[in-house]
Amino acid sequence: MARKRLDLTFPPRQATKAITYHLVKDFDLVPNILRAQIQPGQEGRMLLELTGGQAEFEAGVAFLRSEGVEVHEAASDICLDVERCVVCGLCTAVCRPGALTLAEGTADLVFDKDKCVYCEACVVACPRRAVMLRF
């Protein structure tokens, strides 16, 4: 069994196609949509976790590409460079799942990786470039 996170970019004309339906029905893959922003007529993004057999996974990715979807492997790990971090807390303001929080009282930065959906909002927001992705 393979489980991988994929970062999908949909060109505007594909943005309404039911691709997750086809991944389930045609390739027996289990999709878990971690994050999606798709609007008709606009470029869309989806962070998708796929679980299934290796051959099915590869066929599923080939199907996505044939449909014009740009497929990139999403980060498999996200880590904090504590030497660079100044504990300003700005990352907590953009972390919707609440993986990055400030401890009550001490205001120290707490990173609960189990809650992270790898949306990368903190990577962009961090003024110290202290949040890094590993692939």
Partner: protein, 390 residues
């Protein structure tokens, strides 16, 4: 109860001064009362560590042989001012690199200098009889420079806005990334530890005040730019939105990268986290009363940055205790909050300043000239005029 500057400085010099951080003083006052706290404590230390864009350094390179009158100057490809004497420059923190844009700017050059790294200096000049060289390309470290001093025209804002976005697209601002439809709220103040919130009417903070600047002993040099003492104030005399500011000066060679950190604010630009700490003498009970205020007593105003105008709508007022709880309510919606100013580093600065006073006998300087007081100057806008209208 009242104490003079001289009495307090004598106690510092003899090692007898009682010094507390503003947070410790607030806790003492709440346990034993403001009068008792005022009687027993001599100095209260403050601290703040947030992005402060109006920051930069004056540098003097010394003369090459043959010498050059530097006109265009870059440091690690970040342009610096060529508008001073031959080998003097001012490097502004927010200046982006010509190569890397806002990912590397003036603040990053200053941080690299503080970390002892060599910085590439490239300059061109017109070539004159006294300065015949027209080009130079070399490397300097902080030690190589004759003078290097921070001169920050606006630091340590007395209170600041809380930013939200009621619009329907993400905004990239100097207060961070604002998520649409009230997706988050960001704020930037050390609250109860903030220097100017501890002395709201600038009784002890003025020109000549000795203070902590990026880890170096420095001075308040002047009122900060956009200093506005006339903002609306609450029952404690505290402004409820951005008000007073200070300009500070300090030797960059004595500063520390622990208290100066370059910043890139996504979609906005370069800035610098600057550590500022000011010691405040507990002269009397009136001053003690404001020193004792906590995050629950101090208020900030929430502004809607979704309205891209000079005057943004004020949505409500919130306390710093509410902001620090991680969530505030706006228009019936629970909005997650996030700071930009580091509370842990602000605490470290207040503690470090306390150590300077108790261990190194860092004495206090009464203002040589007060900052403009409430009721004096205001804050003028820039009007757009045509030549004909003048």
């Amino acid at each position: 109860m009242s104490k003079s500057w001289e009495e307090i400085n004598a106690r510092i010099a003899s090692g007898e001064a009682a010094v507390m951080t503003a947070e410790e003083f607030g806790a003492l006052a709440s346990a034993e009362g403001v009068s008792e706290a005022a009687r027993t404590v001599d100095v209260v230390t403050t601290g703040t560590f947030g992005p402060m864009c109006s920051t930069g350094a004056f540098l003097n390179f010394g003369h090459s042989d043959p010498p050059i009158k530097m006109g265009t100057i870059t440091l690690n490809d970040v342009p610096a001012s060529g508008g001073l004497a031959a080998v003097d420059t001012y490097l502004g923190a927010t200046e982006p690199s010509t190569m890397h844009g806002i990912e590397y700017g003036g603040a990053h050059v200053i941080e690299d200098l503080l970390r002892g790294r060599a910085v590439r200096v490239k300059a061109t000049g017109p070539g004159t009889d006294c300065y015949p060289r027209t080009e130079i390309d070399t490397y300097v470290t902080l030690d190589d420079l004759n003078q290097a001093y921070l001169f920050n025209p606006r630091n340590s804002y007395q209170n600041y806005a809380v930013a939200v976005n009621t619009g329907d697209r993400v905004l990239y601002t100097y207060l961070g990334t604002l998520l649409p439809r009230l997706g988050n709220a960001t704020y930037c103040s050390a609250g109860a530890l903030s220097p100017l919130l501890n002395d709201p009417t600038y009784r002890t903070i003025g020109v000549g005040t000795r203070c902590f600047v990026a880890g170096a002993p420095g001075y308040v040099a002047w009122e900060g730019t956009q200093h506005n003492p006339n903002q609306q104030r609450d029952e404690h005399g505290e402004p409820v939105s951005p008000a007073g500011t200070i300009a500070v000066i300090a030797d960059l060679k004595q500063a520390s990268p622990d208290y100066f950190s370059a910043a890139t604010l996504a979609g906005y630009g370069v800035s610098a986290f600057v550590g500022i700490g000011i010691p405040i003498p507990v002269l009397d009970e009136d001053l003690a009363a404001t020193l004792a205020l906590t995050d629950a007593d101090l208020t900030a105003t929430v502004f809607d940055y979704g309205v891209q105008r000079r005057s943004r709508p004020a949505l409500r007022q919130v306390t710093y205790a509410e902001l620090r709880s991680g969530e505030i309510e706006i228009e019936g919606k629970r909005v997650p909050t996030g700071p930009i100013s580091s509370l842990p580093v602000a605490r470290r600065i207040a503690s470090e300043l306390k150590r300077w006073i108790t261990e190194h006998r860092f004495t206090l300087a009464p203002p040589l000239q007060p900052l403009p007081q409430p009721g004096s100057q205001g804050f003028k806008p820039l009007e757009i005029r045509t030549e004909e209208a003048i």
